[in-house]
């Protein structure tokens, strides 16, 4: 058996391999379930039922899919250019803090117009997320500091900031007036005018955030595939020296991409507040790890922004099912393990896209290898 580089990459493979990886992952997970004493068939039936088919399941799936659609886009935007922004988690928190902050502030000023609330929250979330992501961005652009570690370290700092705002201080975000707020550390609830609109399709409630995410995905696709900016990013991602010789401004691109990525995650945080949470809640936000799930989503979508939409919906379904079914006979943490296995299978499957596996003896010399594809 030999492995050799493909000269061209058939289009169908870029769909067949991820789908095959997911199937393989479910196979591996079935073995793990069987070993730990859970029958795989019924467990899977309940999982898919709770994710997509049961009454109200799709509405709940949208709740889980919306935040990871944004964090998935954020990761895809940066990873495409080989900028590994894994600070989506912290940028999401900052977006949530800024989004709910501006909603509370406008509410205190007597604003009642929902569109004004929505726009202000999106802008505030985007700015806060972009600013937080720009810290590793600037360090990377000017000092060549490894952005993986710096962006990750800032996740922990952002988590501590959340804890500080609600638990350890009397900040503007904290509810000190109501009875519950005096007994427990809680965030202030924003005015009902600030809640983002929803659309009802049949019996399914689609949050505004998901529609916004689809719009941003299409925009990102256009930006990366149809503009000069996107072309230059592609070149930088493939080969930095080539980009430098061609006179492309590396520093500006790094700053811009980190800011875009952070803004997307920040809008996700604002949407999380506007669509679902309506108050800042540090422990729930931190235990959901939307930012890290976004990396899984982006990798499965092979960093294609439009493909992020169905992948986010699928992973959101699994998470929603895991949450609904959590209990004695359904192992909690199962969905997290499953996501990891799906991701490993997808990574391993990459080799089938880039290389072909031939059986038997070598018959002809392999020709010049195809250029390295954008991951």
């Amino acid at each position: 058996m030999r492995i050799e580089r493909r000269l061209d990459q058939p289009r169908w493979l870029s769909i067949a391999v991820p789908v095959g990886s997911i199937a393989l992952a479910f196979g591996i997970m079935a073995i793990i379930l069987a070993i730990t004493g859970h029958p795989p068939g019924p467990t899977y039936r309940r999982l898919f039922d709770a994710a997509f088919f049961a009454n109200g399941a799709l509405t709940s799936t949208f709740v889980f899919a919306t935040p990871i659609l944004f964090t998935g886009l954020a990761a895809a935007a940066a990873f495409r250019m080989q900028l590994f922004n894994i600070g989506g988690e912290g940028q999401f928190y900052l977006g949530a803090i800024a989004g709910i902050g501006i909603a509370l502030w406008l509410g205190d000023r007597g604003v009642t117009s929902t569109p004004l609330f929505v726009i202000a929250m999106i802008v505030a979330g985007a700015l806060a997320g972009a600013a937080w992501a720009s810290i590793p961005g600037v360090l990377r652009a000017f000092f060549r500091t490894n952005e993986i570690i710096t962006s990750l370290m800032l996740n922990y700092v952002a988590g501590l900031l959340l804890t500080y705002l609600i638990i350890d201080s009397h900040s503007y975000w904290r509810d000190l007036k109501t009875f519950e707020g005096q007994a427990f550390p809680l965030g202030k609830v924003m005015s009902s005018d600030a809640e983002w609109p929803t659309a009802t399709l049949g019996s399914v409630i689609v949050p505004f955030g998901f529609a916004l995410g689809i719009g941003l995905a299409v925009f990102l696709w256009f930006l990366y595939r149809r503009t000069r900016f996107g072309f230059e990013l592609q070149v930088i991602g493939d080969s930095q020296p080539a980009a430098r010789y061609a006179g492309m401004r590396l520093r500006r691109k790094i700053l811009a991409v980190m800011a875009i990525s952070g803004a997307l995650a920040g809008i996700g945080g604002a949407s999380f507040e506007g669509d679902f949470a309506h108050q800042l809640e540090p422990t729930g936000l931190q235990s959901s790890s939307y930012g890290y799930t976004g990396i899984v989503v982006a990798a499965l979508a092979r960093y294609n922004p439009v493909a992020v939409i169905p992948v986010a919906f699928f992973i959101g379904g699994l998470q929603s099912a895991g949450y609904t079914l959590q209990g004695a006979d359904f192992p909690s943490g199962l969905v997290g393990v499953m996501q990891g296995i799906i991701l490993f299978c997808a990574l391993g499957g990459e080799i089938l896209i880039r290389y072909r596996v031939r059986f038997g003896r070598r018959t002809r010399q392999a020709a010049t290898p195809a250029p390295e594809p954008a991951p």
Binding site: E4, R5, T36, F79, F84, I86, I135, L139, F143, R144, T145, N146, I148, I149, T150, L152, M153, L154, Y156, V157, L160, L161, T163, Y164, D168, S169, S287, S289, Y292, T293, I295, V296, A299, P331, S332, G333, L334, G336, V337, Q339, G340, I341, L343, F344, L347, G348, E350, I351, R354, Y355, A366, P369, P375
Partner: protein
Amino acid sequence: VNDSFLVVLLASAIVYGTPLLYGALGELLAERSGVLNLGVEGMMLMGGVMGFWAVQRIHGPASLALAAAVGVAAVAGAAMALIHAFLVITLRANQIVSGLALTIFAGAAGLASYLGNDLNLTGAPARHTFESIDVLGLGGLPVVGPILFDQNVLVYASWVCVAAVGLYLGRTRLGLNVRAVGEAPASADAMGINVAAYRYAHTLVGGVFAGIAGACFSLAILGQWQTTLTGGAGWIAIALVIFAFWRADLCLVGAYFFGAFSALPLILQGRGWLTGIPSEVFSSLPYLMTIMVLVLVSTRFAKRHLGAPAALGTPYVREER
């Protein structure tokens, strides 16, 4: 003297720095062979949960149970490292993404938390923990006593490991081969060194060290299992390898430096000092210091002395050299 702030801080810096040291030594070995493994945090958590499980389930004298638990933690870490090794060495997957995937798979929202829940480990205290041992009765000496002679076995073992890794990489034929594999795999291959075997072996040993680091948390520092056990220590360990310019002896210095920052908030809290400043400020110091030191070592001045293996992060494919 021995209750003074500085002595307590230094003694705790060693305690809190030890898991960082183990994690960094493991990552150092993997990176020297050319494999970047960003899954340290996940491997640490797996070591933490499995080591804790072992100590709760194995009956027998405390020392035996603890030794077995460290062994189980090491195997758990190595098993996780094997996934990464297979993906990046055999299947040539992207090392950065695979390492991230490992942390997501094994980490706080994945396998470690699944096992912790499924095996009912959350909340209970460990049946045995590593206690500090007063070596030759020197623990009572002023200043150096509590810092150097009143620590637990894992701390003493980590000093042996630093010396062993330093000598291995610098003074043995095998270590020379490892460095060749990390710097110039094509030349190493031409010399008859099995590149894939070296990379597999050192990635696995990296997992062993990370697993032991996890056991340091669950069996020595906290004495219990929780999903926030490591709190980013795995990532700090990866950063440490960069600060240490890929040298074992400097890993020791860096680990205790960051250990001091991890211990600081607890000591200040215990003494009721600086209560006017929010505790979150001190808790975020290890993370902010990591960023600052990373920036310092990535400036041009430090770059000249850098020792990053030339082939770090790239797969070796004989046909494509």
